[in-house]
Amino acid sequence: MSELIQLGSHNERPMPPKADELNLRFSEQAIKELEGLKTHYPNLKACILPGLWIAQREYGGFLDGDAIAEVAHRLSRSYAEVQGVATFYSMYNTVHNPGKHKIEVCTCLSCHFNSAYRIRDYVSKKLGIKNGETTADGMFMLEEVECLNACDRAPVVQVGDRYFGPVDEKSIDALLEELRASEESTVVKMADQIVQVQLKAEERVGTIR
């Protein structure tokens, strides 16, 4: 799904999925967590955001149509509404599959002065991807982002929930090596941590990653 509509056939639009056509993938842990989160809010509409974080974790970091439909189904909201919410916020990955690690390069003022574009181009060349693209092996995604609020460390790069900066070519090399070696997806890890933060202590089911 791109940010603009892909023009399909003029006559045949797929029908929205019915409840029994959905391919539900939430794990038991996720279902329990969602049940807990539902109790935090006066209505289910308010639970869409945390529900999407669970989905982002369960679906490997990418909120595709199936993930959004599952959240909508579990919260009894309409598909379109949940997709509208998910696409509004940039931290939900609804447009591009982020792969295992999402490298977010800050390009705002302070970082820009400190050669953020040089860093961006270096990463881009090294990984062979442009802004908003994912490597063929599904390992890295590169994204230019607005101010990360860490001007003291400019130029700064965010991967998952960690900030790295000031970065240069050497530290980028080291960072990419480290990420490549790690088993875990930083995208999924971050989603999990956000879910855990929102849960009360007695509602936490899984181990914190």
Binding site: M1, E3, L4, I5, Q6, L7, G8, H10, N11, R13, P14, M15, P16, P17, G65, I68, A69, A72, R77, S78, Y79, A80, E81, Q83, G84, T87, F88
Partner: protein, 644 residues
């Protein structure tokens, strides 16, 4: 109005004029009491205000209750989200506001393609009108405009043009608040915001046509009307939709004698300003290629064109006595039913005249305690054995409005879950054929445990629904199982068995139906015992009867007269056939499901030699028994006491 005294009012000053308006009314509505109008895009009187477009800016201030001095606020406020309060001062016209409105419009027009000459909305577009009255004459914007998808087919009926969209959210709010399917939402944000369905799937709402009408620009257009005409080329006439029994008021837009499009016409008592897709897009039969244009008479194996005199002679020869039958459709005018009854029973002497094809319908007539408008005030509603959004779309909108606005508790009992179950407090899905048992459970005639087991519903669910349904307003249709209907009728609350045929109610009032029923007539015809059968305005192959039975009946009847607007399948079995006008081609009156009789004038000329069915009956009638015939539809209606 006695209730008006209970309304709390507040004193406000609009453009220097003091007036009292109901407390809490929005400023945009309050100024209408002075005949003033504030330009709007996103505000819609039937939707909740959102304040998205900022077009309705007004200057506000407060009057000091002690010394009466007025202090104005430094900045303008959106009139659509501001409720009136005591001492509120509003200015709707000032130089500053002119500038503000110009600025807002300039922003709205930045990414608007201004392709009015090729836009379907051009000529009736609020954006065009507001720009003319309030906007800048020229654009200062020389940069590249945002480009986006054009002519995107959202569904079979609706085309989306994203470049024209001004993000007012009217369509989105309609699907959330009125139709309830919530199939549209804004996706992305900022410059990329656009309304669209989930994953670009089909917009399957049964009320999708309304978003076309409430769109204040040409972003949502009618796929069937696209590029067929410009609004100023159309002739527009008041009409009534006869595709179902709700009797929605519509604007019938026609050009050169052909229907081009249907728009909703406001009638607060019936459809407010909505239509369903079946009505809005379902008037193609007017322009059908298979319209019957001349009388036909059979010579040997062939149906050949004939004149009225020949056909009349044959008809009068074939029809006399009680061994003949007449079957009428359920969407004909009241005048047709009245004259058919007078002619067929009074002149030809046969009582076998009927309009019903289901056994349940034949046993119980429709009973209506509630008008459509009063349904939104019901405390508890039991929707029984009907799929409201399909059978009675406008009743569905009223029931949903009641739930949405004042929390009507809705209980649904039906054979599959449907649109009503989305908001129903209790949904009982029973096995088909167990209507009577579950109705008896509601009346306490069968134990809950037995009924639950028989109907395939869990016992606590059924018990909860029965408890909740005490004193409920029952909504069902005339095709409900007769036994179930009788049981529900005896319950405490109001009982409404609405007819589903467009003028079934009129037929019920006008026709005595004291001879053979339609089904009995067909059975007799199949056995070769009926000498002549007259079929008016109905295709026997499309009423849900087994095909073989219909064929057997039509083949074995000695003489078959077919009177219809189209060459239906029944037509090809006819001995003689007469062309009939459609509702918009004749004067006539129609009685909707709640019992309101609505008049309709002839709008477009009849096709070929087609005549209104009542005129044919009158012309035949004076051949049998010379007298002064009725010459106008209104005389016929006035002559019938049932419609007084």
């Amino acid at each position: 109005m006695a209730a008006a005294t209970d309304i709390q009012t507040v004193n406000i000053i609009v453009n220097g004029i003091e007036l009292a308006v109901p407390k809490g009314e929005l400023v945009v509505e309050a100024v209408k009491r002075l005949g003033l109008e504030i330009p709007i895009f996103c505000y819609h009187p039937r939707l909740k205000p959102v304040g998205m477009c900022r077009m309705c800016l007004v200057e506000t201030g407060m009057k000091n209750p002690q010394d009466g001095t007025i202090r104005m606020m430094p900045k303008p406020a959106a009139a659509c989200t501001l409720p009136v309060s005591e001492g509120l001062v509003i200015n709707t016209e000032s130089d500053a506001l002119k500038k503000d409105r110009k600025g807002v419009l300039e922003f709205l027009l930045i990414n608007h393609p201004l392709d009015c000459p090729i836009c379907d909305r051009g000529g009736e577009c609020p954006l065009q009108n507001n720009t003319l009255f309030y906007g800048p004459a020229t654009s200062r914007f020389i940069e590249q405009k945002r480009h986006n998808v054009k002519a995107y087919p959202l569904s079979d009926y609706v085309t989306l043009d994203l470049e024209r969209c001004i993000q007012c959210a009217r369509c989105i709010r309609f699907t959330e608040e009125i139709s309830g399917d919530s199939q549209l939402a804004f996706r992305f944000r900022g410059n990329k915001t656009h309304p669209i369905t989930f994953n670009e799937t089909k917009f399957t709402s049964k009320f999708s046509g309304n978003v076309i009408e409430i769109c204040p620009v040409g972003a949502l257009t009618n796929r069937k009307y696209r590029f067929r005409a410009r609004p100023w080329d159309l002739q527009t006439s008041e009409a009534v939709c006869l595709n179902c029994s709700n009797g929605c008021n519509i604007w019938f837009d026609h050009r050169a004698g052909k229907v081009v499009r249907i728009n909703a016409r406001t009638n607060e008592a019936i459809n407010e300003e909505w239509t369903c897709d079946k009505g809005k897009f379902g008037h193609d039969y007017y322009n059908d290629e298979k319209r019957l244009e001349t009388p036909f008479a059979r010579t040997g194996d062939e149906l050949q064109k004939a004149d009225y005199a020949t056909v009349y002679a044959k008809l009068l020869e074939a029809f006399h006595g009680d061994n003949t039958g007449m079957i009428l459709g359920d969407s004909l005018s009241n005048e047709t039913y009245i004259t058919a009854q007078n002619f067929f029973t009074g002149q030809l002497g046969s009582h076998n005249i009927d309009y019903r094809f289901s056994a349940n319908q034949a046993k119980g007539a429709s009973t209506v305690d509630n008008s459509i408008a009063s349904l939104e005030l019901a405390k508890t509603t039991l929707v029984f054995g009907t799929h409201l959004a399909d059978d009675l779309p406008i009743v569905f909108l009223r029931v949903r409005k009641g739930w949405f606005n004042q929390g009507t508790q809705v209980i649904l009992a039906t054979d599959r879950s449907d649109e009503v179950s989305e908001f129903a407090a209790h949904t009982l899905v029973y096995k088909p054929g167990t209507e009577a048992t579950i109705a008896k459970a509601f009346a306490g005639q069968v134990s809950v445990a037995d009924a639950a087991a028989k109907c395939g519903i869990s016992e606590p669910e059924l018990q909860a629904a029965i408890t909740a349904a005490a004193g409920a307003t029952v909504i069902t249709t005339t095709s409900l199982n007769h036994e179930a209907a009788e049981v529900l009728k005896a319950l405490d609350g109001n009982f409404n068995a609405y007819p589903t045929g467009a003028n079934e109610r009129g037929a019920q009032l006008a026709l005595a139906c004291d001879g053979l029923s339609a089904l009995e007539q067909l059975k007799k015809a199949a056995n070769g015992e009926l000498s002549a059968l007259w079929v008016v305005g109905v295709d026997l192959f499309s009423v849900g009867l087994p095909r073989e039975e219909v064929i057997r009946a039509l083949e074995n009847v000695d003489f078959l007269a077919v009177q219809d607007s189209r060459r239906t399948e029944t037509f090809y079995y006819a001995s003689v056939a007469l062309p009939m006008t459609l509702p918009a081609e004749q004067d006539g009156s129609y009685t909707n499901c709640e019992g309101t009789t609505q008049q309709m004038k002839a709008i477009i000329p009849p096709v070929g030699q087609a005549k209104p069915a009542w005129r044919v009956f009158e012309e035949l009638s004076i051949r049998v028994n010379p007298r002064m015939p009725f010459s106008q539809a209104s005389e016929i209606l006035a002559s019938a006491p049932a419609f007084a």
